[in-house]
């Protein structure tokens, strides 16, 4: 007998459950952390260091395309209704970005100090919350968002929590990378457990 509720769930969330598509995001965060720690560096001929971030982002995120094609070849394709728009949250996102940027610049120019709160961590947490809200399922996403937000904001209460801003941002990137990988793996396993192997005609006669 078929678990119809699971069939319905997996079909409705098919694209969300292709968790390995997020693997390049994890790798990008790991590489970024390694770069911040000085463990890796660009080749000597790469002289425009300001280009490093966008080029690396494009290269890593481009890996998402072949992974998506692999899912299509292995599990098939479906067409779903357009994803629900999150317009109210997009406004909140831009307000958050603008507010954080203004606050960072104000602190930097008025006190010549960097803010203790990690804006990067808050941006990543916000994207995770947006994803959780769009999917309306996946408590694992909510947990990850809360952990990242907490790691970003706790220096407000304990300035000595991180030895430096670099360590703070590396720690947040590592937790984000591990969290995104864990979330992706959970989703992928949910998908694979429902979509069984392709049965051949010989197996049915056996």
């Amino acid at each position: 007998m078929y678990d119809l509720a699971r069939i319905r769930y997996v079909t409705e969330h098919y694209h969300d459950l292709q968790g390995l598509i997020r693997l390049p995001v994890s790798l990008w965060l790991l590489a970024w952390s390694a770069y911040d720690l000085g463990w890796i560096y660009p080749p000597a001929w790469f002289t425009n260091e300001w280009l490093l971030f966008p080029v690396a982002a494009i290269l890593f995120l481009a890996l998402m395309w072949p992974i998506e094609k692999l899912y299509e070849r292995s599990f098939g394709c479906i067409a779903t209704e357009r994803r629900a728009k999150v317009e109210p949250n997009k406004r909140a996102f831009w307000i958050l970005c603008g507010g954080l940027t203004f606050w960072s610049l104000a602190i930097f120019f008025l006190t010549e100090e960097r803010p203790v709160v990690s804006e990067l961590g808050l941006y990543i947490a916000f994207f995770v919350f947006l994803e959780w809200r769009r999917r309306s399922d996946g408590k694992h996403l909510l947990v990850l968002g809360i952990v990242l937000a907490a790691m970003s904001l706790t220096p407000l209460f304990d300035r000595s929590m991180y030895p430096s801003a670099t360590v703070r941002d590396v720690a947040i990137k590592l937790v984000a990378a591990a969290g995104i990988l864990a979330v992706g793996t959970i989703d992928h396993v949910t998908l694979v457990r429902t979509l069984g192997p392709v049965r051949r005609e010989e197996q049915s006669r056996a």
Partner: protein
Amino acid sequence: MPEPFEEMAGLDRLVHEPARLAILTALSACESADFLFLQRLTGLTKGNLSSHLAKLEAADLIWVRKETAGRKPRTICGLKEAGQTAIDGHWERLESLRRDARQWRPVFDPGTA
């Protein structure tokens, strides 16, 4: 009023067959799905799945389209309005049967004792 257990015999077998019910449930949750997805979802062999899809298409519950993705042929299926009505009606009927079955009590007839 028919007993709920008698009503069960009157369920639409075309829709109620487990594999076809699974196919219709999946198609009701998306706009269309290709053959490979339905095959992985139902665990049926290619021949079995083709047979079920043919029956559903013949009953005008789904549409089936063959197209070419690159060089590879691909079969895509989707639910028609009649199919959506059929699956919705089927679930309503099952829910009603469930409620009736829970409330059902045997009636003692002294004449047959």
